[in-house]
């Protein structure tokens, strides 16, 4: 009789184990109340994906940058041109721009109560410069091969000695956020150390909890030196699918969301949220690959540009010019010395055909590469294909995923395609663009080589006189617009929807990439 019972037991066991496995494997949290929604409120912000790291010297992706902006306070920050001192009290540059002294505020403290001193800043810079740590920001502090020197003057002052003058040094400093020496000292490999999982920061919010694939929870830090955050906590909620995210915004599961152009109308109609729009600081361009002979001919480039109506091109990519302004200069609107009046190429089919005939390029065939996962690029490519067909140019579309496109673009003698889209956001310092346009620069996607052009960039980098610099950068933008090897299309706009119940948006100062400069200023109305 034993065997019979064994059989029945086996089947029952199979079913129960499957079900138990299903339920027990859920880390069902029943005790912890999640966000500490006290009277200050818990702001839920949607992010596209998990943050790559909580260690600022390795943070490159927008998710990590946004969260670190809440956890850590920078030395100083620059919003639409004007400087604001945070951890630092003052930054004085020497006459020859070769020496900078930085003075920290008094009484600064880390979230765990340890004092924040010049030692931490020194430790941060040494870690960044240390080749073994391969931090992402090392290149900004190595001027043609020679790293800068950092030494501690006293408990609150640091001196930076540069091997050569650099106007862009201040913009590099803005990106750096000090990390706690007492936490990371002695760690062989900062990148992989497990101290990164429970970060100790210096910003208005401190780290509470991270649940993979779901959310990152940060709460108000009382140790913050300036005005405490009115919010009790912020939850950065991971939402991959943007239409279910828009839905969650409507039923209150989310309070803040970066909105895609095509969802703008839907969110506006729903009326739950205020919509903020501000320049994203990014420039979308179209790049001609100068390694290809046909592309070397200026008439061909001009013919192509004349065949496109910039207004319609933007409408195709961003569904309306409301979400992306037509761009004239290769500099983004928030960059110093940006020029508005530059040569333009109005939509003129006959001129385009004439130019093509002059260049002997009838029946031209072009291979156009674009990033397959980006909807704007895909739609613009389709529009471009149809428009160029009208002037007799045959366009073959080549969709590539991020890794493949990146590798081809950075290959100096790449001939896999004739044209492609480009895009960058370099911040307010014009010298940062040098990396994209110098003849032998790593990221010169169009591989355009011009001595005169290079000289102007080098002079402007070391020129101390402001209007001399303005005049140099003016000539640069002028030449680029005439040569049209990189054709600026649009200045992108970031659209952020915030639940109507939250206020303090102006004080928090909307900012590209990290959404807001200071989350602490936001609060929940009663």
């Amino acid at each position: 009789m034993l065997r019979k019972r064994g059989l029945r037991a086996a089947i029952v066991l199979l079913l129960v184990s499957l079900f138990a496995g299903a339920c027990s494997s859920y880390p069902v949290v029943t005790t912890d109340k999640g966000g500490l929604s006290g009277e200050g409120g818990n702001l839920i912000i949607a992010i596209k994906d998990d943050p790559k790291t909580f260690n600022p010297i390795y943070a490159g992706d927008s998710m990590s940058l946004t969260i670190n902006n809440a956890l850590y306070a920078p030395l100083l920050s620059v919003n639409n041109g004007e400087k604001k001192f945070v951890l630092a009290e003052s930054l004085t540059a020497a006459k020859d721009l070769k020496k900078f002294t930085l003075k920290l505020r008094a009484g600064l403290v880390w979230h765990d109560g340890q004092p924040l001193t010049a030692d931490d800043v020194l430790f941060t810079f040494n870690s960044i410069l240390d080749e073994k740590q391969h931090s992402y920001f090392r290149s900004s502090f190595v001027l043609d091969g020679k790293p800068i020197k950092v030494n501690k003057a006293d408990e609150r002052t640091i001196e930076f000695v540069l091997p050569q003058a650099s106007a862009a040094f201040e913009s590099a400093l803005v990106q750096i956020v000090p990390i706690p020496k007492h936490i990371f000292e002695g760690e062989a490999d900062l990148e992989k150390s497990d101290k990164n999982y429970s970060p100790v920061g210096s910003g208005p919010f401190k780290f509470k909890e991270y649940r993979a694939g779901e959310y990152v929870l940060v709460e108000r830090a009382d140790t913050y030196f300036s005005e405490k955050s009115k919010l009790d906590s912020i939850t950065f909620r991971i939402a991959k699918e943007n239409n279910s995210a828009v839905l969650a915004l409507q039923n209150g599961e989310l309070n803040m969301l970066r909105v895609e152009p095509q969802d703008y109308a839907k969110v506006k109609a729903a009326g739950h949220a205020k919509l903020m729009m501000f320049p994203s600081g990014g420039v979308t361009t179209m790049v001609f690959n100068m390694n290809i002979d046909r592309m070397k001919q200026k008439e061909v480039r001009q013919a192509i540009v004349h065949a496109l109506d910039k207004q319609e091109l933007i409408q195709a990519g961003f569904s309306s010019t409301e979400f992306a302004e037509p761009a004239a200069s290769i500099f983004s609107p928030d960059t110093l010395y940006v020029k508005k009046e530059l040569p333009t190429y109005p939509y003129d089919k006959d001129k385009s055909k004439a130019l093509l005939k002059a260049a002997g390029a009838e029946g031209l065939k072009i291979r156009f590469a674009y990033f397959s996962a980006s909807t704007p690029e895909t739609n613009m490519a389709l529009y471009l294909q149809q428009k160029l067909k009208e002037v007799g140019i045959q366009v073959e579309l080549i969709p590539l995923d991020g890794a493949a496109l990146g590798k081809k673009a950075l290959n100096k003698d790449n001939t896999d395609y004739d044209m492609s889209f480009g895009g960058y956001s370099m911040g307010f310092e014009p010298d940062a663009y040098k990396v994209l346009y110098l003849s032998d620069a790593a990221y010169n996607y169009s591989h355009y080589k011009n001595e005169q052009f290079d000289q102007w960039w080098q002079q402007a980098a070391v020129e101390t006189d402001a209007n001399k610099r303005a005049q140099l950068y003016g000539q640069i933008q002028e030449l680029s617009a005439r040569e049209v090897t990189t054709y600026p299309i649009a200045y992108g706009k970031s659209i952020i929807a915030i639940d109507a119940r939250f206020a303090g948006i102006e004080e928090a100062v909307a900012k590209p990439v990290v959404m807001f400069d200071d989350f602490a200023k936001l609060y929940k109305q009663k």
């Binding site: 699918e241 239409n243 828009v246 895609e260 095509q262 839907k266 569904s319 389709l382 294909q385 493949a404």
Partner: protein, 281 residues
């Protein structure tokens, strides 16, 4: 197919009205696919001012997010989806039948080797294989056909192998060996014709699976490259507009559902028509 099986199939079709409906549906779709150029609008021209229009007299299925006529795109999409379905099925059925028949007929070490490699192939998550294979080949119909074909032949070869093993023991195959017929002739004159019914059934069910796989391939961004479209890629693009324009998702989804449904019904009708009871006492 010889006379006997043909009459059986026709009688089965007459009695099972569901099979008739299935044939009619497939007939309409194939005709529509062939007549695609006659569609009122061109599927790929972008009209920025006519974006996301609801179905109307002028645009029967409305327009998509680029202002392209959705009905025309559905017709051209039918061409892609049906051709991918049939071509991929042919690829997987041919490979599957040959390997299955050889492995089943010869048995021994060759059979164990083939079966072990199929076990390995089946335990590699097909999802990853799709992504990786697609990275090698440039996008297009040929790539999709190859990827899907290479992924779905393994289940067919298992079915064919099992059937070959059972047919191999039948006495008319023993007689063929006794009367000195060559192995090649035995496989192609006796074994494969007797397992044609199973192959046909597996083929129709495979087409259904292939069309569904094509739509999930598009979901992963690996399907047909723009400006052309398949039902799968149309469905995938419609994902973003499910809120205000559900029709964008409704039409391709319905078309895929009815096609796959038709193939499944046909598969079952073939199975019923060629049921082995025909030659059982």
């Amino acid at each position: 197919m010889n006379r006997m099986r043909w009459t059986l199939l026709v009688s089965q079709l007459r009695t099972q009205k569901s099979a008739l409906i299935a044939l009619i549906i497939l007939g309409i779709y194939v005709l529509a696919a062939l007549a695609a150029p006659l569609a009122p609008h061109d599927p790929n021209t972008i009209h920025l001012d006519e974006r996301l229009l609801p179905p109307s007299g002028q645009h029967w299925f409305g327009t998509d997010d680029n202002g392209r006529d959705y009905f025309a795109r559905a017709l051209y999409g039918a061409r892609v989806s049906l051709s991918v379905g049939i071509l991929a099925m042919l690829v997987s059925v041919t490979i599957g039948t040959i390997i299955g028949a050889i492995s089943g007929y010869f048995g021994g070490k060759l059979d164990t080797f083939l079966m072990r490699s199929i076990d390995i192939g089946m335990s590699l998550p097909s999802f990853f294989l799709m992504l990786i294979l697609n990275a090698y080949l440039k996008p297009g119909v040929v790539t999709i056909v190859l990827i899907i074909g290479l992924l779905s032949w393994m289940s067919i070869s298992r079915i064919v192998r099992a059937e070959t093993i059972s047919v191999k023991e039948r006495e008319y195959v023993l007689y063929a060996r006794v009367s000195g017929q060559s192995t090649f002739r035995i496989i192609f004159r006796h074994i494969i014709p007797s397992i044609v019914p199973t192959i046909v059934v597996a083929a129709t069910l495979n087409i259904a699976g292939v069309i569904m796989m094509e739509s999930s391939l598009s979901f992963l961004g690996l399907g047909i490259s723009p400006p052309d479209a398949s039902w799968g890629s149309m469905l995938n693009n419609a994902k973003g507009y499910i809120g205000e324009n559900p029709t964008l998702a409704l039409f391709p989804g319905l078309l895929i559902l009815t096609t796959v449904l038709a193939f499944n019904y046909l598969g079952d009708v073939f199975r019923a028509a060629f049921e082995p009871k025909v030659n059982r006492r």
